[in-house]
């Protein structure tokens, strides 16, 4: 199971808490998923925050607050500071968003914010691209986990840059990596695990499915299958057929 900053979590699934049809379905989806980590945001208190806090603290999972929606280093750092006090955790999923259409990370601001937060004692989980230089900079800034996107947030497109993700996995073999964003189907989640990623962070694919609870279970099964496949050293694809049945010993029947 994944090890993040010295803490072993109980599942390769990290699950978001947004967009479920109801709090009861959220709780049931978490139960079905076996997720070890739940992501939450910080928003202006307008009456619902205290009930939500009780709900998520009752899930029995590790909470990972995010800086979703922050477009500047200052906003992200201040949000992280508030999250640390509120949820009593040093963990922060760091998002510094650069472009609204794709919700793509502003990788320059991300590295700067990561450096600042690591210096302040945070355990930073940076939502990043699969760019090797950016990821190298994040590690130098003090991050011990990377969270490259599979595809834009909420798009459900899966792993958009297979080559880049494979290269990233190969470049930093010992760094725990989570595919964050873009997963739409269990097959995408399995593919991420087959590539050797340690975990997947999902939200929309589960919460917006017609049956979120069943989808949560399907994702969990896919993650387990993908992880087992990775550990079992799968064959490499090839372009020509190779017979699986022995050729020697075939009867001569002409």
């Amino acid at each position: 199971m994944p090890l993040f900053y010295g803490t072993q979590v109980s599942s390769p699934m990290m699950l978001g808490t947004a967009q479920y049809p109801s709090p009861a379905i959220l709780a049931a989806a978490f139960s079905a998923s076996g997720a070890g980590v739940a992501t939450v945001s910080l928003r202006r208190e307008s009456g619902g925050g205290q009930d939500f806090l009780r709900l998520i603290e009752g899930l029995g999972v590790v909470l990972l607050p995010n800086t979703a929606g922050c477009h500047s280093v200052k906003e992200a750092v201040t949000t992280a500071q508030m999250a640390r006090e509120l949820l009593r955790t040093n963990w922060i999923k760091l998002e510094v968003i650069g472009h609204g259409d794709l919700l793509a990370p502003d990788v320059f601001g991300l590295v700067e914010a990561a450096r600042e937060l690591c210096a302040q004692g945070f355990k930073v989980f940076p939502y990043c691209t699969e760019d090797l230089s950016v990821c190298d900079q994040l590690l130098r800034a003090g991050c011990e986990v990377l969270m490259p996107w599979g595809a834009p947030i909420g798009s459900g497109l899966g792993l958009n840059n297979l080559l880049g993700l494979k290269a990233l996995r190969a470049a930093f073999r010992d760094v725990p990596m989570v595919i964050d964003a873009g997963i739409g189907r269990p097959s995408h989640a399995a593919a991420a695990m087959e590539l050797g990623f340690d975990a997947v962070l999902l939200n929309t694919a589960v919460a917006k499915a017609g049956d979120p609870v069943t989808m949560a279970r399907a994702m969990a099964q896919a993650l387990d299958a993908g992880r087992a496949a990775y550990l079992s050293d799968p064959i490499e694809p090839r372009e020509m057929a190779t017979p699986s049945t022995p050729v020697i010993g075939k009867a001569f029947l002409q």
Binding site: T39, R43, E45, I56, T78, Q81, M82, E85, L86
Partner: protein, 65 residues
Amino acid sequence: MKLTINGDPQEIHATTLAEALAALELSEARVATALNGIFVPADARAATALSPGDSLEIVAPMQGG
């Protein structure tokens, strides 16, 4: 005094951040605060003076991905 609280202009009887939370009936709530974009830890609220026109953000955990 007149403050902007979570984006809304409000007239509130308070001279410190702790008093503002009390006036909003949020003294007991688990919330985090920032004054003019700067985080104010819970134990510093009582000693944090407010000035007219200050912008106060009061946040709680919410749904997120």
